[in-house]
Symmetry: C2
Subunit: 332 residues, 2 copies
DNA sequence: AAATAAACTGGAAGCGCTTTCATTCTGAAT
DNA sequence: ATTCAGAATGAAAGCGCTTCCAGTTTATTT
């Protein structure tokens, strides 16, 4: 591996000059630059990124911390982040928190220790306070899918309330009046917001909100099924079920079928997120689109702009959900 | 940020000694070690990983290159890799090839330039020859889901033929004799192997293999649907369809339903991979399990053993598929 | 042609650590 | 008490680059 010394010797210029052309500095004459470039090519020189990082105190890498690497969500997200980053000559170091607070914090430390220039966080377990404190330290970061008001310009999130609203409104428009709701854990911000939107739509349509039509799940498939079982066991009456995410919707559909309900004829379903598998379901699931890719891309661009001073662009923090109409809702 | 100098000064020992305790060297007296550890704690010292890398010429990171980050496969894989790596104090740098040869090669160079100590590759587009050549260079690597005979001890893969065999055999056991096959692209190793297993099972049962019952798809959902349409248009007769992966199976099921076929009563389906969404399908898809997690874990352990000399363990290169019986196959 | 500013270049220190080598210390064996 | 291997330590030279500073060259203005 050729080093900068050899390039400098072959080109007949100083180290500094080589470094300058490497970093695209102004104030290098065309002649010098040509000599250096020629020497680099001849030696097939590849800069040692580690040495550069040490000397310059920046690593050209951004750390990504996610609670869970599997599931239908993160692939799409990482894909957008990685693409955007690599186009900018940066790269992603990825760690997972494996859904445990200490583990998430370890992941954070790990990334900070690796001298990541910035971080992208998609974390559940770490508290607002911790993140607010972190925002005062040196490493800049953005937060996905969560809005912490004290640092909201670092946050990128969906208008969850609008999403919940759109879903319920659509069901109402299709003639449903008895609408059950399977929620995510109400300790989570997105769950409560989605439910709030749901209630708002009901209120607008003068449909009373009934507590006994709500089941609090945990975003996993199984809890969708549990939700349906719960509702049926309690003899709740409903013609449609709005679910706080697609996984629960799929579980709920399965549960409904276990009870011999025809979908959508006897029971309609609407999901949330527009995960890729919703098209595979039968019937295909009507749902609310969560523009994950846009959000991931935007957050990465925020970093490119604010940390690497590369892009000049407008930043949007809140993203807009959209109804995706498929076959799981019956017109009544 | 405290440096090793400050630790050394506070502890009243030399740089070398601090470095030694940092790296768990032998030949440090208990007394020195205690002093150093105390000083480190007091200063809240965190070693600079970049500097360590530069001096020691190893980065404690392993590069992961995948063709595509999204899809149902990679999340699980990355999750296993990351977990295993972090437990060993190493970390993952992840890049994606975005399914394009040049882009995959760029990704490779990227990781090599970052001085990754080893690489984990899950790539489609890069040729065998390129990888064989790469195996002669400095950076060690493993290859997932692909067997290149010249470097097969670096390869971790499924016994695809056995998988195809198990699927067909199961259908036959359930009384099916007219079995259609929707294949992945036959330019890909795994596709041809799976098909070979399929043929073998037919042969064993003295069922003639009919070319007109085979459709070559591309592993995507849509091509499963196309496959069914193709078969029906050509008036092929079949009671079951074996698919080379789950996504095509889901597409095929949808296609069958478009033609008003009851599943599994009029047409049975079996998939391949046991992707997580197969449980969401209706009916739940009978399929062949691909132990992604095991494979990812094993490959990571290979690196821990051979590159970092950490583990002593037996390496298995070939993994065994298993039938997962669910509801999409009818007993005839 | 002289004066001045601007562009360009090179020297050298340093980023924070590892690692060789030589030296000193320790304790067991004689 | 003497010897000597082995353990413990420290000094110093890098790892490959960036960057500040000072010095030199070139261009511009008068």
């Amino acid at each position: 591996m050729a080093t900068i010394y050899e390039v400098s010797a072959l080109a007949g210029v100083s180290l500094s000059s080589v470094s300058r052309v490497l970093n695209d500095h102004e104030h290098v004459s065309k002649k010098t630059k040509e000599k250096v470039v020629a020497a680099m090519n001849k030696l097939n020189y590849r800069p040692n990124t580690i040495a550069r990082s040490l000397a310059s105190n920046r690593s050209n890498s951004v750390g990504v911390l996610v609670s869970e690497l599997h599931g239908p969500f993160f692939g799409a997200m990482l894909s957008s982040i990685e693409l955007e980053l690599r186009n900018a000559g940066k790269h992603a170091v990825i760690t997972a928190g494996h859904s445990d607070e200490q583990s998430e914090i370890d992941g954070l430390d790990f990334l900070i220790d690796r001298k990541c220039d910035a971080l992208i966080l998609l974390v559940d377990a770490i508290s607002d306070d911790y993140l607010i404190k972190l925002s005062k330290s040196k490493t800049p970061f953005v937060i996905l899918n969560r809005n912490i008001s004290e640092i909201s310009d670092h946050c990128f999130y969906l208008d969850n309330e609008l999403g919940g609203y759109l879903a319920a409104k659509y069901l109402i428009k299709q003639g449903h009046k008895e609408i059950a709701y399977i929620s995510g854990p109400l300790t989570k911000q997105d769950s409560t917001e989605r439910l709030a939107g749901h209630k708002k739509a009901l209120a607008e349509a003068n449909i009373p909100f009934k507590e006994n039509l709500v089941y609090e799940g945990n975003y996993l498939t199984k809890s969708g099924r549990d939700g349906i079982n719960f509702l049926i066991k309690n003899k709740a009456k409903f013609t449609a079920v709005a679910c706080s995410n697609d996984e629960m919707a799929s579980g709920a559909m399965r549960g409904a079928r276990d009870h011999k309900l025809l979908i959508p004829e006897q029971c309609s379903f609407i999901g949330f997120d527009n995960a890729f598998f919703t098209e595979y379901l039968y019937p295909q699931l009507t749902t609310i689109n969560f523009p994950v890719n846009d959000m991931a891309k935007m957050s990465t661009q925020w970093i490119l702009k604010n940390v690497y001073k590369q892009k000049e662009l407008d930043i949007t923090n809140m993203f807009i959900p959209k109804l995706i109409e498929r076959q799981s809702v019956q017109q009544n």
